[in-house]
């Protein structure tokens, strides 16, 4: 369908202000958090009602026009990258919390509600929504579900998939479906699990019901400094073997510590090769008991310095350094490329040593921060885009790190999604038959392949060509937004 005809069709049910067609209006939508990729969409629609979303989907379906749904656009893998011949649908106006049930501990919200807004609304009842991606002040719950977002508390509280109860969604043909239940059983296949992390490829969410948890009575953090990163990694295993499940368990290496300390003055030990931040939460008694045990285990594990936050202000300061690690690294290098792989924790020393070797081979520095409890690495490759060949080297190095994660028995993405960024590495993680099954799942929902086509799952043909393919990296779009 020609652009003008499509605009006329959409104009039957959308007010003119809800359809953007001029270049200067389309520009803000050309990229998400992965700004190395830019594409102006054919047009942008900004519906306000579920009925309008249904009509948009039906119109695109009839006309065979692809559609990409978008929340806040903070995603880091290009999942909301528009298509030149497609419609970009912003869900920004679906920003209402529809119902909050303090006794039943659930909130029914529209997809454009910001992650943090849910916890803010629940706070008067002593409740909160657990998954806390570091971009939580900006990112929306619809995008969180699409990407199965994580955060720093996943080891104890899980990912998005563990914290949502129900979804209302529309299929590409505009049909409304309800998936999951506030009751905990759900008849049939677990489509809630299938849709969570489906990167906008299967359906468009119109409502999300999330689980709310009681706010822990107390949270406290212990920081341990180590003379080498291997000991920090081993200490993580020691804590877990001792039966402790910390709420957060993070490691930063020397370069990340130096950058973060210079940026936020968190009070990190500058002589340490690695620090471990271990947060415990629960009842008052529980935290007191466990803090003592954690200190003993870390000391026995070779910690050279140990500090327990004495008050909430100190706890937040210790976390501020961690949460600002990315912008902090941005201050010591013109550009950086953030990776997101996961590995079995026991492989940490081996993987880190390989990364160190590769860092020398590629001639690029790497700062490491990771969700150590989950084995989720975020190596930051430092480069200068203005230096000839550095961007390409950084991209090639990043691709090798992901392949290393797969070799170690891990995955190419822990929480950022595949999007367009890691589509080639999907060929490393999955064989052609597994990819064919993913395509079968896609077809079960969207036979015409109109929802966010070309993302997340590569064609077998593309994989055959991978190797010659160019793997792109990206600078982030929101340099000041806390990350990971």
């Amino acid at each position: 369908m020609a652009k003008q005809d499509l605009i006329a069709e959409l104009g039957r049910f959308l007010p003119p202000a809800s359809i953007l067609t001029e270049d200067e209006d389309l520009k803000p939508y050309e990229t998400d958090g992965l700004t190395a990729y830019r594409q102006t969409p054919m047009l942008v629609v900004i519906p306000e009602t579920e009925e309008q979303v249904g009509q948009i989907l039906k119109t695109c379906h009839r006309a065979g026009v692809p559609l990409v749904a978008r929340g806040a656009g903070t995603g880091l893998s290009g999942g909301a990258l528009p298509l030149a011949d497609g419609v970009l649908m912003s869900m920004a106006r679906f920003s209402r919390i529809l119902h909050l049930d303090p006794l039943g501990r659930a909130a029914r919200v529209q997809p454009g509600v910001r992650n943090l807004a849910i916890s803010e609304a629940a706070a008067p009842h002593g409740l909160y929504y657990a998954p806390d991606p570091s971009s939580q002040i900006a990112c929306t719950i619809g995008g969180n579900v699409a990407e199965n977002s994580g955060g720093v508390h996943c080891l104890k509280y899980g990912l998005t998939v563990h914290n949502i109860l129900k979804l209302c969604a529309l299929t590409i043909s505009g049909e409304a479906i309800e998936i999951g239940s506030e009751g905990l059983d759900s008849a049939g296949y677990d489509l809630l699990a299938l849709l969570t992390g489906s990167e906008g490829m299967l359906a468009v969410f119109t409502e999300v019901t999330v689980k709310l948890l009681p706010k822990p009575e107390r949270a406290q953090v212990v920081m341990a400094g180590f003379a080498d990163i291997e000991h920090a990694g081993a200490a993580v295993g020691d804590l877990i073997a001792a039966g402790i499940v910390p709420a957060g368990l993070e490691i930063m290496d020397r370069l990340a510590i130096q950058a973060a300390e210079a940026f936020v003055h968190a009070g990190y030990p500058l002589d340490a090769e690695a620090i471990l931040l271990c947060e415990l939460d629960g009842t008052n008694e529980e935290v007191s008991e466990e803090i003592g045990r954690v200190r003993e285990i870390l000391t026995a594990g070779g910690a050279v310095s140990l500090r327990t936050a004495q008050d909430e202000a100190e706890r937040l300061r210790l976390w501020a350094g961690r949460k600002a690690a990315f912008p902090a690294v941005g201050r010591i290098s013109p550009d950086y490329y953030c990776m997101d792989g996961t590995i079995p924790r026991g492989k940490l020393p081996w993987v880190l040593n390989r990364i160190k070797e590769m860092s020398r081979e590629y001639g690029l520095r790497v700062a490491n921060v990771f969700h150590a409890g989950d084995g989720n690495l975020h190596p930051l490759i430092l480069y200068d885009a203005n230096a000839p060949g550095e961007l390409e080297r950084a991209e090639a190095f990043g691709g090798k790190i992901l392949e290393l994660c797969v070799r170690a028995g891990g995955a190419i993405t822990g929480e950022h999604g595949v999007g367009v960024e890691k589509i080639n590495q999907m060929c490393v993680q999955f064989n052609p038959k597994e990819l064919a099954l993913f395509h079968g799942v896609k077809e079960a929902w969207d036979g015409a392949r109109l929802l966010n086509p070309g993302k997340a799952v590569p064609t077998v043909h593309r994989c055959a060509e991978f190797g010659a393919a160019h793997v792109h990296g990206g600078k982030t779009k929101f340099p000041d937004l806390p990350r990971f």
Binding site: G158, S181, A193, I244, N376
Partner: protein, 353 residues
């Protein structure tokens, strides 16, 4: 090179696909009663057993699907760890594969999560006889659709589970159970109110006018909560929760059809005939008696819930809560993507597939 046992499974799949004769996938058969009546030639998956990898420091266990649950629980117990979803066995020979395929979780479910929440990865054979792996042995993995969680509760209709990787957790250092006499409405309100407070709750049950709760965690936390909540200590709490999980309490021994009703937890008491037992803080309500299924489903649906005919009764109708036509259609197509010839456990979940 495929292992000989897997090769034999694959041959059975290829033969079934060629002949159109369906397969009844079975571990130990301990959950044969659950879902639509088993049909087809039995393919015994229990010989494919054994723990493949268990590293307590990783909190991950990988085992072949035919491994007895008991063997897994013993291995975990020896390392002071556990399956956090506390699955029912219903038989000493119950297997890991059956546990995952049935998707059934026990008393801890409302507080720690369900089977599907702890599945990290699977190795499986699809209806083409292809060996596939999804997920892995890591806590976080968002590459591709989450097929491994989809396998939980799919009742063997999507493929043959060969291996499953699970997240496991440390056993709580201390547990204590408390009993309180109260009426049903008060019990529902109480369970929900407590669940909204930072208390170390790990199970709740209301039966015969008595609310029983379990506290799990650090010794000091359990002790503090016990002082705060009051109630009477329950002698031999461990045995009580095991009897609840395995459905050996008197409530389950009535020989009447047993309905499993899932509701938003704070829903008011169901004013329906038959006896009731409540678990999961109000989210799971068992109804025992000669109940009109259609009337029950109507009443439950109005409250945003659903009802499954769990045991006994007329299983010729829908055992599981009927799906909307749009949802049924999408599920039928998903089934076809995995099992194009319709050979795995037909009718076990819905008659349409």
């Amino acid at each position: 090179m495929m292992e000989p046992l897997i090769e034999s499974f694959r041959e059975a799949v290829l033969q079934a696909a060629a002949s159109g004769q369906p397969l009844c996938l079975r571990g130990s058969g301990s959950k044969d009663f659950y879902g639509g009546a088993p049909q087809g030639a039995v393919l015994d998956l229990s010989p494919h057993r054994g723990i493949v990898h268990y590293e307590p420091k990783e909190l991950v266990l990988t085992a072949r699907a035919g491994t007895p649950l008991g063997e897994i629980e013993r291995a975990l117990h020896a390392n002071r760890q556990m399956l956090p979803f506390e699955p029912p066995s219903f038989s000493p020979s119950a297997t890991l594969g059956g546990c995952v395929a049935s998707g059934l979780s026990g008393p801890r479910r409302a507080y720690q999560g369900a089977v599907r929440d702890f599945v990290l990865g699977v190795r499986m054979l699809d209806g083409r006889g292809d060996e596939l792996r999804f997920g892995g042995q890591v806590m976080k993995n968002v590459a591709g659709y989450d097929v491994s969680r989809l396998m939980a509760g799919s009742l063997g209709t999507l493929g043959i589970l060969l291996e499953v990787s699970l997240k496991v957790l440390p056993r709580p250092a201390e547990e204590a159970s408390l009993g309180f006499e109260m009426d049903q409405a008060t019990a529902i309100e109480t369970m929900n109110r407590w669940a909204g407070q930072p208390l170390p709750l790990s199970a709740t049950c209301y039966d015969e006018g008595r609310l029983t709760v379990r506290l799990s965690g650090a010794a000091s936390a359990v002790e503090a909560a016990r002082r705060r909540l009051g109630g009477e200590p329950v002698e031999n709490g461990t045995a009580f929760w095991e009897a609840l999980r395995e459905q050996r309490l008197a409530f389950f021994a009535q020989g009447q059809p047993l309905w499993r009703v899932s509701l938003p937890p704070a829903s008011a008491p169901l004013d329906l005939p038959g006896r009731q037992l409540i678990e999961w803080g109000g989210a799971l309500r068992w109804l025992s008696g000669d109940i009109d299924g259609q009337a029950l489903r109507g009443a439950v649906e109005q409250r945003g819930g659903q009802a499954t005919l769990f045991r006994g009764g007329d299983e010729s109708g829908d055992v599981f809560h009927p799906l909307s036509s749009a949802l049924l259609e999408v599920q039928r197509r998903i089934k076809r993507a995995f099992d194009p010839h319709g050979i795995f456990n037909p009718g076990r979940m819905y008659r349409a597939f």
